[in-house]
């Protein structure tokens, strides 16, 4: 609708360190869609079934500030799905090495909380949110910790243990056509969508299908292939 090719993204920019109080932060713009992600760290008791591991949590806030369609209130299905898709891409690929985030087994470990907030919804929040989360944890550093208390005012230079860079690309299907990065007019009328997170080695680390229409296995593989091809370009921006 705006003259782009079907597999062409609007201009993508990433700006890191945009929120000085956060342990890490990033602002991502895809065209006029704008989101901001922030990382906060806490020290907590590890979960009983993983006593030697830290943990992570992803939360998405769809602010009414960013669209006339969002209302104040607890997270709805859309924001929960967005958060869980983003979470899966990072968690299941073991991008964040949670074993390295243990301080004392069974007693203390770091928790990383990533909050992604929308500033302007002009379509394709799926990819903007995942990219912002990834950029924010890549930007994040540990706050000073003396064994008892965290000093949030003092940030160390030590980055989080990140070993991979998953990139999430959502492919949208309209009849026989595949489209990337729809604007919000295009965003509503799709038949199916597939969010694919890809790693540097070409492997897929998470999938999520949405939309009311069923797709064939060939459709899915075509969509995955398109996502894999484009992921390298977005990864360069990190």
């Amino acid at each position: 609708m705006d003259g782009r090719k079907p597999d062409e993204y609007r201009p993508v920019t990433i700006e890191t360190g945009v929120s000085k109080n956060a342990e890490g932060s990033a602002k991502v713009k895809i065209g006029e869609t704008e989101v901001i992600a922030g990382v906060k760290m806490e020290v907590m008791k590890p979960y009983p079934d993983t006593p030697d591991q830290g943990s992570m949590m992803v939360n998405v806030e769809l602010f009414p500030l960013s669209s006339p369609e969002f209302e104040s209130g607890p997270p709805d299905n859309y924001s929960i799905e967005l958060a869980r898709i983003t979470d899966r891409g990072i968690r299941e690929s073991k991008t964040l090495d949670v074993k390295k985030m243990c301080i004392k087994a069974g007693e203390k470990a770091w928790t990383v909380v990533i909050d992604i907030c929308t500033l302007n919804d002009a379509g394709n929040l799926y990819d903007a949110i995942s990219l912002a989360a990834m950029a924010a944890i890549k930007n994040a550093v540990y706050p000073a910790y003396d064994g008892e208390k965290i000093d949030y005012k003092t940030k160390t230079k030590e980055k989080l243990p990140i070993s991979k860079l998953p990139i999430s690309i959502t492919v949208f299907k309209y009849g026989d056509h595949l489209l990337l990065d729809p604007t919000n007019e295009e965003d509503k009328s799709y038949d199916a969508r597939l969010t694919v997170a890809t790693l540097e080695n070409g492997n897929i680390c998470s999938l999520q299908k949405g939309g009311d229409t069923a797709i064939t296995a060939d459709d899915a593989l075509m969509m995955i292939e398109l996502a894999r091809k484009r992921s390298a370009e977005l990864r360069k921006l990190l």
Binding site: S19, N21, E23, E34, N59, F63, S66, S72, N120, Y152
Partner: protein
Amino acid sequence: MSYDKRFDGRKFDELRPIQAKAGVIKRAVGSGWFKIGNTEAYAAVYGPREMYPKFLQNPEKGVLRCHYNMMPFSSGGERVRPGPSRRSKEISFVTERALRPVVDLSEYPNAVVDVFIELPQTDAGTRCAGICAASIALADAGIPMSDMVCSVSAGKVADKILLDLNYEEDSHEEGVDIPVAMLHNSKKISLLQMDGELAPEDLRQAIELAKKACDQIYEVQKQALKSKFEEAPQ
């Protein structure tokens, strides 16, 4: 104790650096962005639109509704759990009252004008920054306004009356924080709060400081709105 030099070296009547922009949130009817030192606020206006729930509708004129919120990662300490708190609800109410005197919604019965304020980064003075951003957003939205609203905190730390407290000053045990909002032309006060202990004479001085700051803030707000129209269309 005697507060001889401010923690960040400013003069006692000096504001932190201020910046402002208009039209930053494209999906909103109007929007503003205001930054003072490290405190940053976005504001977006939606409406006039039909008011829900219906029992809150006013058949004589439109209703202004403000929603203030800090992003979970915005403040200097731990993460702030998302969602409204008693504090954010109170700030939403006082923000609304700070803006109501200048807004004319008589042409929009049964409608609501929603103003959403979000802060990605905070260092005290958040409700003031929110009001400044909201003022820009309302003007940007074309809501009929009789004046701009400018807001800043004044106060006292130990023995000095000062302007625009940062977090360190605000949380000081001998710190008194006085958020003020003023209508620019009339200099009438639409927001006045205070916590701490202060002699009435000191309060008068603090308000005088805020009045002077008002003009400075207004210039930046005005420029933000002008710049939007001066940008060459692409």
